[in-house]
Amino acid sequence: MSIRLKPYLQLAPLTLVLLLFVAMPLVFVVIVSFFHTEGFDTVAAFSLENYASVLGAKLTLMLYLKMAKYAVLTWFFCTVIGFFIAYFLVFHVRNRTVAIGLFLLCTVPFWTSNVIRMISWLPMLGQEGVVNSALMAVGAIDSPLRFLLYSDFAVVLAYVHLFTIFMIVPVFNAMSRIDRNLFEAALDAGAGRLQTLLLVVLPLTKSGIALGSIFVVTLVMGDFYVVKVMSGGRAASVVSAMFDDISTMLFPHAAASAVILLAVLTALIALVGRFIDVRHELVASK
């Protein structure tokens, strides 16, 4: 009896926390998404009007397409940059301590807030900013490049800057577990450096990349502040549209939108889950 109860008791605190702070709020959001808005009042009801409104709107499609564009671009750059940084740290830096030191160095920018790191791009990219001034000074351009700021370019740049670390960490973790003997084996089998990278390292870090992708993509999809600031308010995101709803008390509509976003994200993660075993990735170390 007590033997059987023990694991449940051990699980209880975490389960309780998750139920209270994750499941409960979600349940409320789902409930409210069926409510009805009347003037400024939210009326308890069971109505599908919010879902009809969100799913029927051209806006939703526009927002999701925009989000997909940002997510794909950000994911691509984060993956390429993250992969090679991790590769360098794990395989090129011989000294383990130095590697860990450099790895920690990657996290230094994260000691300041996201907001500061993002806003510091403004004086960099503005028309009288560092980049434009420098290019003008060396005579590369005659008039400032205005696409640098308040554009999709600026948004993706900020995302990549903010989120690459979330790719570096799981990839670094996956690479650290690769048996070094495999390199010798690959060399013996006649593989070149590129072939080893593509045929040995890449497949073995696949799960790390997948894990990092989940982080990066969900962060992009849940963001509204970066889009707001870096696009100069010229682009909207799924979440920023929710924010506009909430600012005038349209809770049910925002809730329906949130439930749909959650469903999309869950589907995406489930899809990624088919390729990797997250539990294995997190638990099984060597």
Partner: protein, 434 residues
């Protein structure tokens, strides 16, 4: 201090006199309030909650000093504050609201009526608020005017009533008119009409306010000014009017007209100061903030023209008493409301370009030249400094937009939330996503 004080005192008196005149009479003690027993009130804390431009820390600190109990100022953005008032009414004592938020709060029954007879300076409030008229003109009713939402039926604040009553839903505390701001050095001519905001000459150099319910009114002002259409009520559009407005905005965006849109005070200052934008929707103190950086910026005087076009978009924040306030705490709240109208706050907010609904007490807390500059629109008799002490107006300069009377007899519409709000927000986001 009586007139026949000993001669030895006269030196001190002279010093006091000079000091009082010199420092804008900022130190004049608040008198005439029935101070409740210090011992009983010193433990009271009142939480005054609202947006940062209306609920200011410095004002709370001064009030705490003058009143002897603690005023705690808490800032949330517009949406977060109304959400808090509605969902956690007991965590708020004084709710700072705009007209539309009063409508929300009244619908939820979270306010109590304010007894106008307990407000000392009630008869000093400008008729804009109390009667809906000003300078002999009826104040515009487009959007949600403060007059429209100000009165209620009794201490229980059951519903909003039209026309003067004893009981109030909220007490107006700070207000202003929003307009267009522009860089005179880049624009090169005077701007007095909203259509300049969408003038192709400023392609890629214009920005619009991105708070949907008021941003769309700025767009409507511009379209009406250009002659595209005449709105029935810019503050409460029909679906068709919303569609026309959004279509025009998307068209402008596709042409690359808007460099950005902004949703916070700081963003608007940054856009203007960095030279990214030459003309945009703007708030008066944001213009002041650009001037403080030593960059020329003008708050466009868009008074109503003889043909009835143009005009400012007005807004007003006021304080509502939450239903749970009773006894000593309620008394303290009334003292606080009366303190607000006693002049210090009116002088303080004037120095960054806002107004108090009771100018006559603010006057006593400002130097005559300050009052003439900020409230009367007269040329500065001495250098004008902002509330941060930065010089922002040279001797002889005149405040943009003129006097309080010139601005407020020229209001075209008030900040609002429309009946078709949900539809409008969705369409506005289509403009953003386009």
């Amino acid at each position: 201090m009586s007139e026949d004080t000993k001669p030895a005192d006269s030196g001190r008196r002279a010093v006091l006199k000079t000091a009082a005149l010199g420092i804008a009479a900022a130190a004049v003690p608040i008198s005439g309030f029935p101070q409740i027993m210090k011992r009983e009130i010193k433990d009271i804390t009142l939480r005054h909650i609202g947006v940062s431009y209306a609920v200011q820390r410095a004002i709370g600190e001064q009030a705490s000093k003058d009143l002897g109990f603690k005023i705690e100022m808490q800032n949330l953005d517009t949406s977060a504050s109304i959400t808090r008032f509605v969902t956690q009414p007991n965590s708020v004592d004084i709710a700072d609201m705009e007209g539309w938020q009063v409508k929300v709060a009244m619908a939820r029954g979270i306010l109590q009526g304010i007894d106008s007879q307990k407000i000392k300076e009630f008869d000093g409030i400008l008729p804009i608020f109390t009667q809906g008229v000003y300078e002999g003109r009826k104040v515009s009713r487009q959007g949600i005017s403060p007059y429209e939402t100000m009165y209620t039926d009794g201490p229980a604040a059951g519903k909003i009533l039209e026309g003067q009553q004893r009981w109030l839903t909220f007490l107006p505390q700070v207000f202003n008119a929003d307009s267009i701001g522009y860089r005179p050095d880049k624009v090169g001519r005077e701007v007095t009409e909203w259509k300049d905001l969408i003038d192709p000459k400023f392609k890629g150099r214009a920005a619009i306010l991105d708070i949907p319910n008021i941003g769309i009114m700025d767009a409507a002002q511009a379209l009406e000014s250009r002659g595209d259409l005449v709105y029935g009520n810019k503050g409460n559009m029909t679906r068709k009017e919303i569609d026309t407005t959004i279509a025009a905005l998307i068209e402008l965006k596709k042409q690359g007209h808007f460099r950005a849109s902004w949703s916070t005070f700081e963003q608007s200052v940054e856009l203007m100061a960095s030279g990214e934008v030459f003309i945009q929707s703007m708030w008066s103190p944001a213009v002041t903030a650009v001037l403080e950086k030593g960059i020329p910026c003008i708050y466009a005087p868009v008074g109503i023209k003889p043909n009835g076009k143009e005009g400012y978009r007005g807004w007003c924040n006021g304080m509502g008493l939450m239903k749970h306030l009773t006894g000593k705490k309620l008394e303290a709240a009334y003292e606080y409301l009366n303190w607000y109208y006693s002049g210090w706050q009116g002088a303080y907010v004037a120095r960054h370009g806002y107004y108090s609904p009771v100018p006559r007490t603010a006057k006593a807390h400002m130097t005559p030249s300050e009052f003439d500059y900020w409230y009367m629109g007269k040329p500065a008799a001495e250098a004008i400094r902002s509330s941060h002490g930065q010089p922002i107006g040279a001797v002889g300069s005149v405040r943009d937009g003129g006097s309080l009377a010139q601005r407020f007899s020229n209001i075209a519409c008030w900040n609002t939330v429309m009946d078709e709000n949900q539809y409008m927000v969705q369409r506005w986001n289509e403009f953003k996503a386009a």
